[in-house]
Amino acid sequence: MVWRTVFRSALHRPAAEPVGAADADMTTMLAERLAAAAQARLGRSLAIRMVAAGGCNGCEVELRLLASAVYDLERFGLRIVASPRHADVLLVAGPVTRTMHEAVLRTWQATPDPKWVVAVGDCAIDGGVFRGSYAISGGADAVLPVDMAIRGCPPTPAQLLDGLRCLLEANAGR
């Protein structure tokens, strides 16, 4: 009995008709919609790690005020974190000194993808007044791919907040 069923099955073609590949355009579109929805739901928060690349401490003064109760970053979903391993955004302040070059690079490597790099202040943009010194690698872009720059010497907390909020909107897919 069994052998007869096996024999018959071998002679028959399958009942189901073959189909081609799924529509590529539709797949891409749906994938994008899903990603956008997830970004909109999950992307409204950024963890920030500040990296002092060898500046004068002026940008750090303003960044500390930005992190204080006066500007209350958490209401925007912005959070200062202790480790680059927890960060979405690296704020690089100061010119990158040659001595800090390697440490800045390793901090960036320790930050998980996807990540943003923001150059904070004139020094981090192109070395500022220290451009051309024997001890300077240059701005943050001498070491890292920079996504955004916030000008100023030092930039005020209000300017820093404006920049970070733009980043938040872009990150949320707007």
């Binding site: 500040m50 990296v51 002092a52 690349a53 060898g54 500046g55 004068c56 401490n57 002026g58 940008c59 750090e60 003064v61 303003e62 960044l63 500390r64 005020l65 992190a67 204080s68 109760a69 006066v70 200062i80 202790a82 480790s83 680059p84 100061g94 010119p95 000194t97 040659r98 001595t99 800090m100 070059h101 390697e102 440490a103 800045v104 901090t107 007044v129 220290f130 051309g132 010194s133 024997y134 001890a135 300077i136 010497c153 030092p154 005020t156 907390p157």
Partner: protein
């Protein structure tokens, strides 16, 4: 006259303003070093170099005399001061890195600022050598006993702060030794200043330390003015004092916030930040910049105070005076927090005296030193200025002094504004040559600048940030504290990096 002063005055003098510089031969310098070993009344303020000379600035406290003194470098070597004065070891390491001069028989021959990554070797020497910088890992003292372990920290430290590397040697949870290695923020500032007019180089002085930009700018401007043989107009001098006191309040407020934060004590954070922000906004409205960067120029100040600026500063000072007692009671009356500060990071008075450390760190350890009183110049000469001193030398004493100094500056500000003289804001610097020393009492201690001009251009410069003495003091005080208290201790000493890294 002390033996040191006698030894110094044996040399011939060369013009330097306002104090002539004494040039000694190597034998006389050695005699001076020997006298320094047993001269508690003489402070070593700074040591630096220039061409073929190594300079030191001494302060004979008994005589009230500032003594700049030099020794020629002989085939790359000069006699050390670090056997007599421990603080000289850091200066001598820096002199070797920047000028290539070696201290003969120095206490510490390891590099300090140079990590091997610069494009030049001995960048300030007559003939710097180009090198392809391959950074070397810093060398720390080893842990000598089996029960000791080491904890590496930095150069990227947690929080929003400057780069520094520290190596803690610990026995369990106790710190046996804290050793710092700086140089990560070295930007080559002294080399950038050379060949420029003091006016053009002022922007580098203003960026030596962003949170002490006024103090460094004033010291630099004074050095340029004394070297050129001019004086800033009275209105500029008075406005500089207003800025200096505003900066002092702001810096102390920030440090208090950092101390509370390092101890995980949140309540004072919000009121301290609010006051700090009020001061920054007031400074921007009245004097043109939140940190007053570039507001002081050699020859005077960059701009006049805004028409309603004086009133804005008076209002801010009033707010500080009103809110300060509330914050102070949070510090004093929260038992758990007060107990963390008490006995944390004790700098013994004899160490403070040996290092000649100034500022809050020195005054909390029994050193009555304040340049506003010790070298009384307008406008401070007419003001009654108390210098509060404590003997305990712990974090609690330093916090207490910060509160007292904030309150004192808040009362000084209305007096300074009321006595603001009329007149010009700045005078041009003549294109002449000369040598000058300038100073200012910043929030973290005494700031010193030295300049040599030729034809109105800077030929050589040095800046001594208070950090040069605060870091060794921190190293001395950290022995014996709990590992968990290291951030608190760092905040309590207010140890900043950039001004010292040059």
């Amino acid at each position: 006259m002390s033996a040191v002063s006698e030894a110094v005055r044996a040399g011939w003098t060369t013009p330097c303003h306002p104090w002539p510089r004494h040039v000694l031969d190597a034998a006389a310098w050695r005699a001076m070093a020997a006298a320094l070993a047993d001269a508690p009344g003489v402070d070593l303020i700074a040591q630096w170099a220039d061409g073929q000379l190594v300079h030191a600035l001494l302060h004979d406290r008994a005589l009230g005399a500032m003594l700049p003194v030099s020794v020629p470098v002989d085939s790359g070597f000069y006699p050390t001061l670090s056997r007599a004065r421990p603080a000289a070891a850091w200066f001598e390491r820096m002199i070797r890195d920047l000028w290539g001069h070696h201290a003969e028989d120095g206490r510490d021959g390891r590099p300090w600022l140079d990590h091997g990554a610069w494009a030049l070797h001995a960048p300030l020497s007559a003939r710097p050598v180009a090198v392809s910088g391959q950074p070397e890992p810093p060398e720390f003292q080893a842990a000598e006993a089996a029960h000791l372990h080491q904890i590496p920290l930095g150069p990227v430290l947690s929080g929003i702060g400057e780069p520094a590397q520290m190596r803690l040697t610990a026995a369990g949870e106790r710190v046996v030794r804290l050793e710092a290695r700086l140089g990560y923020a070295h930007k080559g500032t002294l080399a950038l200043m050379r060949g420029k007019s003091p006016r053009a180089a002022a922007r580098f002085a203003a960026r030596l330390a962003g949170d002490a930009t006024v103090a460094h700018s004033i010291a630099f401007a004074r050095a340029a003015e004394t070297a050129s043989g001019i004086a800033a107009p009275p209105r500029a001098v008075a406005l500089r004092a207003v800025m200096l006191e505003l900066e002092r309040i702001a810096s102390h407020l920030s440090d208090l916030a950092l101390i509370a934060d390092a101890a995980g004590f949140a309540p004072p954070g919000a009121p301290l930040a609010r006051l700090r922000e009020t001061l920054a906004r007031t400074a921007a409205a009245a004097l043109g910049h939140r940190l007053m960067m570039d507001a002081v120029l050699p020859g005077g100040v960059a701009a006049d105070i805004a028409p309603d600026g004086a009133e804005a500063i008076r209002t801010a000072a009033r707010q500080v005076a009103e809110l300060l007692p509330v914050i102070r009671s949070l510090f004093a009356q929260t038992q758990s927090f007060a107990e963390r500060l008490a006995g944390c990071g004790v700098l013994r008075p004899e160490f403070a005296a040996a290092l000649a450390v100034g500022g809050v760190v020195g005054r909390a350890s029994g050193r009555s030193a304040d340049l506003r009183r010790d070298i009384a110049e307008p406008p401070y000469d007419t003001l009654l200025l108390g210098v509060p001193v404590r003997q305990e030398g712990d974090a609690a004493a330093r916090a207490r002094l910060r509160f007292e100094e904030i309150a004192a500056s808040a009362t000084l500000l209305p007096d300074l504004l009321a006595a603001l003289p009329a007149g010009p804001l700045n005078v041009p610097l003549p294109p002449v040559g000369g040598e000058g020393i300038g100073w200012a009492e910043g929030a973290r201690g005494d700031v010193w600048h030295w300049l040599r001009l030729e034809g109105g251009q800077i030929m050589a410069a040095f800046a001594r940030d208070p950090g040069w003495l605060v870091w060794p003091a921190l190293e001395a005080a950290a022995a014996g504290i709990a590992v968990a208290d290291v951030p608190l201790c760092l905040a309590s000493f207010g140890a900043t990096v950039s001004g010292m890294d040059l």
